[in-house]
């Protein structure tokens, strides 16, 4: 496990296209999480308007 983790980290911080792909994957995953939270999850739902009773 440790060898796999070290290998991934080595590629991640290297100046290679494989490293760039890993960066792409990481960025896309984080952005997808943000979009899910704000748009689809309902946690970002603005409050409903409140009217006085009439």
């Amino acid at each position: 496990m440790k060898r796999i983790r070290d290998k991934i980290l080595e590629v991640f911080f290297s100046d290679t296209w494989l490293g760039a792909i890993l960066w792409f994957a990481a960025a896309a995953a984080m952005l997808a999480l943000v979009v899910w939270f704000l748009v689809y999850s309902g946690f970002g739902e603005p409050a409903m308007p409140v009217y006085e009773n009439f």
Binding site: D15, T16, W17, G19, A20, I21, W23, F24, A25, A27, A28, L31, A32, V35, L38, V39, G44, E45, P46, A47, P49, V50, Y51, E52, F54
Partner: protein, 411 residues
């Protein structure tokens, strides 16, 4: 460098569907109504949805309707089972006169609602011109403009108004102040208050992009609670009526229409000599009105409320700032009925004179129908256009949008 490219590509990957979601959602509504964009009188859910109104105008005009916006309220109702064949839903829609009317507004929509609506839709109004039916009863002492506003208020139209850069901050602030006075919560009115956090702003910004992709069930539905079944049937969504675009466009034969409507009005009001439509009169509607008239058609100090005049001025201000040219229609009351109340001809004249002065001060075009208060077939009841009334109104609408007829000018 490679990592920078990778991150930028990831951002682009996420942004493209988000942006496409925004454009797809409004065109999704247009697609859904494409085959049946037309109703005689769009019901409340539709008239309170600027997105629907935009899509409907676009799709109706794509089918050759050439519709123009007419703002008003309950006078647009198609009276049933009585016949008023000069109603624009028949006059313009079933004849090829080169144009049609988009009847926009519901009961309780008074000046403030229309001011907000004009600001919300200013960029989508054909020819930058609207006809605006203005009712004296909105101003009367018995009326409750605040309650009417709360009953008719459209949050979507308000949001679109506030997003319109052509409406000045001063006018927006006046509208907001009125909304709060009329009972809309400050949280709702001042939603862009600066005490929002940065996260709140991003949150609502992204939410807004997807807001229009929520389901359109309400605006697509032909069920309307306060219509009776035959009226609902008449008002169903359908394609632009065939008669509207058949053959070559003609100029209406105004004299022929007027003669026809004089005869129809006489027939449809045969039960009385005030020009009141038969089904209401014969079912005791007039008697009930007469018995109760002193309860509401009365005033203590002033006959008219200042707040509604202020809202009318706001409507004209919004038009002026957004480049919309209005034709203000000063709707009359049936003199034979209303002379029996505190709102005698002299009192009504106060309103007409004040409204004309406001229009003249602001350079707004108007038509004054007060001379027709005693024309029996001009209105079918106390306040709503009838047989000859609609011919007159249609004529003014037609000239406003299509220009004066040369033959007419020669006469």
């Amino acid at each position: 460098m490679k990592r920078l490219v990778a991150v930028v590509l990831a951002i682009a990957l996420v942004c493209v569907p988000v942006a496409m979601g925004a454009t797809a959602s409004s065109s999704a509504l247009e697609k859904q109504i494409a085959s049946t964009p037309y109703q005689i009188w769009p019901a409340k859910a539709r008239s309170n949805s600027p997105d629907f109104v935009r899509a409907a105008i676009k799709q109706r005009n794509a089918q050759g309707d050439n519709c123009k916006v007419v703002l008003g309220t309950s006078e647009f109702r198609w009276v049933y089972p009585d016949t008023v064949s000069s109603h624009p839903g028949n006059f313009f829609a079933n004849n090829n006169y080169g144009m049609d009317t988009f009847l926009l507004g519901q009961p309780y929509c008074q000046d403030l609602w229309h001011a907000i609506e004009a600001g919300a839709l200013s960029e989508d109004i054909p020819d930058d011109k609207v006809v605006f039916f203005c009712g004296i009863s909105w101003f009367m002492d018995y009326q409750n403009p605040a309650k009417c506003f709360r009953l008719s208020f459209s949050p979507e139209a308000y949001a679109d108004l506030m997003a319109n850069p052509k409406v000045s901050d001063k006018t927006k602030a006046k509208i907001q102040k009125k909304m709060v006075e009329y009972g809309v919560s400050e949280d709702e009115v001042y939603a862009e208050a600066s005490d929002k956090t940065f996260v709140d702003r991003i949150n609502e910004g992204v939410q807004k992009i997807f807001d229009t992709s929520k389901n359109w069930d309400a605006v697509l539905s032909d069920e309307e609670d306060d219509w009776n079944a035959p009226e609902r049937e008449l008002n169903k969504s359908r394609p632009v009526p065939e008669g509207r675009t058949q053959g070559e466009a003609q100029v209406p034969d105004w004299d022929a229409w007027m003669s026809q409507e004089q005869a129809e009005g006489a027939d449809q009001t045969s039960s009385n000599d005030m020009g009141i439509y038969n089904s209401w009169y014969e079912n005791g509607g007039y008697d009930k009105w007469y018995a109760g008239r002193e309860d509401w058609l009365t005033f203590t100090d002033e006959p008219y409320q200042e707040t509604e005049f202020e809202d009318f001025e706001l409507f004209l201000d919004v038009c002026q700032e957004t480049g919309i040219q209005p034709l203000v229609v000063l709707m009359p009351l049936k003199g034979a009925m209303v002379d029996q109340t505190d709102y005698t001809a002299d009192v009504r004249a106060i309103w007409y004179d004040r409204m004309k002065a406001i229009c003249e001060e602001r350079g707004a075009e108007y038509v004054d129908y007060s001379p027709y208060e005693y024309d029996p077939y001009f209105l079918y009841d106390m306040a709503h256009f009838g047989w000859t009334g609609w011919v007159q109104v249609n004529h003014d609408i037609y000239e406003f949008f299509m220009g004066k007829d040369e033959a007419d000018e020669a006469n």
